[in-house]
């Protein structure tokens, strides 16, 4: 299983998905209309490393994080 967590203002608990690629994560998250609108705004990290490509295979135990727009300072 892959854990997907939602950081900052996305008011949603982590979920577990039985997927093996980022592509599949995307497909799953798009089913949730509330999450759908966040997807184009969010950066993605796998195990706390921000990734820039979608063509990534996931292992069981991987953690995918969604990072919405930021404003530190």
């Amino acid at each position: 299983m892959v854990v997907v967590e939602f950081l900052g203002p996305i008011a949603k608990d982590s979920i577990e998905l039985d997927v093996s690629s980022l592509d599949e994560v995307s497909q799953e998250l798009k089913k949730d209309s509330e999450l759908n609108e966040w997807l184009e705004k969010c950066a993605v990290a796998i195990n706390d490393e921000i990734v820039m490509e979608r063509d990534i295979t996931l292992q069981s135990g991987d953690r995918v994080s969604l990072l919405p727009p930021v404003c530190g300072g």
């Binding site: 994560v25 997807l39 969010c42 706390d48 490393e49 930021v70 530190g72």
Partner: protein
């Protein structure tokens, strides 16, 4: 890198950093201090930080600064910071003036654009995500 619950004690932090590097032979020290402005009827700001990625972001800047003979320091608030209190200090120490002036600009702008920190306005006791002032991190939209 230092994170604090609530507002920063700016004089204490600046003094401590200045003394820490007093013998390091840096000719230029430039801190940038961010303070909560009284505007739009807010009572203050509030911050969420995702620390593991902030740590990595900061460490990448430690390396970038080192390549130019400089060092960087960072302090930021978690949670609520009220009007006229400070939530943020980024600082650069460098042997030379030009490197310090260029680095503090790049460091502060990249912090704004990519540090995993979320800002909320405090309005009538509620936290309202400051989305219109927020920036998408590089690589956003990957799952869209």
């Amino acid at each position: 890198m230092e994170l604090f619950n609530g507002a920063l004690d700016v004089p204490e932090i600046l003094k401590r950093w200045y003394i820490e590097e007093a013998e390091s032979n840096y000719g230029a020290f430039i801190p940038f201090i961010g303070t909560v402005r009284d505007e739009d009827g807010i009572d203050g700001l509030s911050f969420d930080i995702y620390e593991p990625i902030l740590e990595k972001w900061f460490n990448s800047w430690v390396e970038k600064a080192k390549d130019r003979g400089a060092i960087v320091k960072l302090a930021h608030s978690k949670g609520d910071v009220l009007l006229h209190e400070s939530s943020y200090i980024s600082a650069v120490f460098s042997p030379k003036r030009r490197v310090a002036l260029e680095l503090i600009d790049e460091f502060v702008e990249d912090f704004k654009a990519n540090a995993p920190i979320w800002k909320y306005d405090l309005i009538d006791g509620k936290r309202v995500y400051a989305e219109s002032r927020s920036q998408k991190i590089s690589g956003s939209g990957l799952l869209n």
